[in-house]
Symmetry: C2
Subunit: 366 residues, 2 copies
Amino acid sequence: MAASTLTEVARLAGVSPATASRVLNGSARKPGPDIAERVRQAAESLGYVPNAQAQGLAKSSSGLIGLIVHDIADPYFSAIARGVQEAAREQRKMVLLATTGGGPAEEKEAVAAFAARRADSIVIAGSRSRRPGDTEGNAELAAELDRYCRNGGRVAVVGHPVVGATAPEGYHVVQVPNQELAGQLATELAKDWDGKFVIIGGPEGLFTSDDRIRGFQEGLERAGRQPAEVLRNSFNRTGGFEAGLQLAARIKAEQSEGGEHTKLCIFAVNDVMAIGAAAALRAEGLRIPRDAAIAGFDDIETLRDFRPALSTVRLPLEEIGRIATRATGRPGGHSADQDKDHDQELEPAGTIRGEVTLRRSTEVAA
Amino acid sequence: MAASTLTEVARLAGVSPATASRVLNGSARKPGPDIAERVRQAAESLGYVPNAQAQGLAKSSSGLIGLIVHDIADPYFSAIARGVQEAAREQRKMVLLATTGGGPAEEKEAVAAFAARRADSIVIAGSRSRRPGDTEGNAELAAELDRYCRNGGRVAVVGHPVVGATAPEGYHVVQVPNQELAGQLATELAKDWDGKFVIIGGPEGLFTSDDRIRGFQEGLERAGRQPAEVLRNSFNRTGGFEAGLQLAARIKAEQSEGGEHTKLCIFAVNDVMAIGAAAALRAEGLRIPRDAAIAGFDDIETLRDFRPALSTVRLPLEEIGRIATRATGRPGGHSADQDKDHDQELEPAGTIRGEVTLRRSTEVAA
DNA sequence: AAGCAGTGGGAATGCGCTTTCCCGACCGGC
DNA sequence: GCCGGTCGGGAAAGCGCATTCCCACTGCTT
């Protein structure tokens, strides 16, 4: 038994499909109350469920929002996803999920799939990348996105614009002040900390990571410090852990030499990497912040009970998701449609404010 | 400019829409290579993206999998979501996300929405509940699900069957041995631990929580122990934290009395609650496992670096998601269509194996 | 009382695609 | 050389719904 159709409902109610449609699915024209009631009863008794695909076809809009993340199990993304979901609910839409692992090629596929489903808008949460191997993929992604926008789709991307996308109508960027905040973090840390700094970063070319590294270095410079050494690794716990092992070896070597006590202050470009690094140090018998300080970025909720409490930069992840989604919702959203001033930033879809949060892991007294 | 259509492609290629359809979207009939090439070129040059809605309408199947969770930002659910996503990819389908906060009423709406979108299958990851206020919602949810199945939809639910669902064709339950595993955990703990046990549980009526509580009590009984007191609270970190505060007060009172050293062993029915409880104890100046032992359930990945390392029960969350999704994929999946033996369990969609994992937080020497 | 706008309902068209059915061409076998 | 049998392509009928256009009818005005 296939699901019952509007036509069946109409027949049972003794009206035309047009009328049934008008009463069951919001239309400007409201049929008479008696008829409406009859139709509603018929629908009820048949267990009628409108076919959203057919509706979508007819009105060419699907009520779908596409969300692209690297990995939905990563707390960073799942927090954003929660915000997206919430905003989608406000707009009475559903969210379609795509996880890509971070490659532009897969992201392009995801965009194409969303376009195929005629998603009303797309939110790209995953960080942009311009690693050498990605140039072709990026170009394709940009082309796919441009096409999607040209066809009336709206897209919001968190962090950085897609490389090469020509920002047509309906393309929003939610600016995340990674660089600035990382700079502030560096400044704050430099106040109390007189030892050396080391950065554990993601692979080169990953914008989020690069911005945070650059910002941190700038902050260090403003504070009159030497630039920090940068250890690059994968952008997840494992990457942090491995870099942590390297650093642990180095710290232990220095300690056994005796003499200077220039404790290391480690900045991992995200919390998950920071936790990985901390685990590595601990596995090597080092303690935080006694033997080294460590700071992260994001202020992941699940990690807030971690001990020693992790110094980090609070990012309103959920709100980022909400803002990005809302930006794609209102047709009147600002997009950079003015060619003049194209040197300026795109009109931000919303202002994201983060906050440096110093906790135990970087306390100097230990 | 709206997206280009199959008809346009066909016209450009100088063939009929039927032929264009055959070459561009997998059909049994393969047109000649020269024609195929012409069509492909035309499609390419027009930037043709097939309209999945129209395809879905025509073949009445959407390539969509609906996933229902309480909260996508909860690591328990996001881990399952990752598995679902992965399995969906295998089936070349996309996942539609719905978060419900746990109420059957909202779950019913989500099912209806999925049904409207003609999702091929639905995976319900959220725990079932039979709290008093939910009976009506449960009935409606069951009715909606039954209708969905009757119309050819396939559903998999993690943990417990939906209360009142009459298991028609296509209804799968992924059994999670919560009770058994909680029992094993109790047994293991009882070996080394001779103090009292306390359980921090979720609200009464939440199946997952109730099963784990029941199992734990059984395990205790088998070990010849007194049943544990049960503190009920919300099923999240806050719930654990509040219960933890209560327990902390109690422990401190006992400690100041001096005398007996019957240390408490706390079992929180999930890791997130356990972390909350641990945070509360710590906030009250107590240490784990020195002043109290604590164990959780789920073995959430992000929490594995928590110190003291949390004793818990490892659940293959990601695989649970995969298995549930796969169960809905193959049309030949086992469903309980035999009325005889209806006293037996439904044919499990896959066997989930967990593992008791004892770590530092319940070490007796402290 | 005749003409009018306004109202409530139905017929029909189209959204973009799949698929069945049909038809012409081309093949080999007797 | 004629016929049954493919094979490759097109015409057309939906899939389930929204919506435009049209018509019959009501309740007014002049």
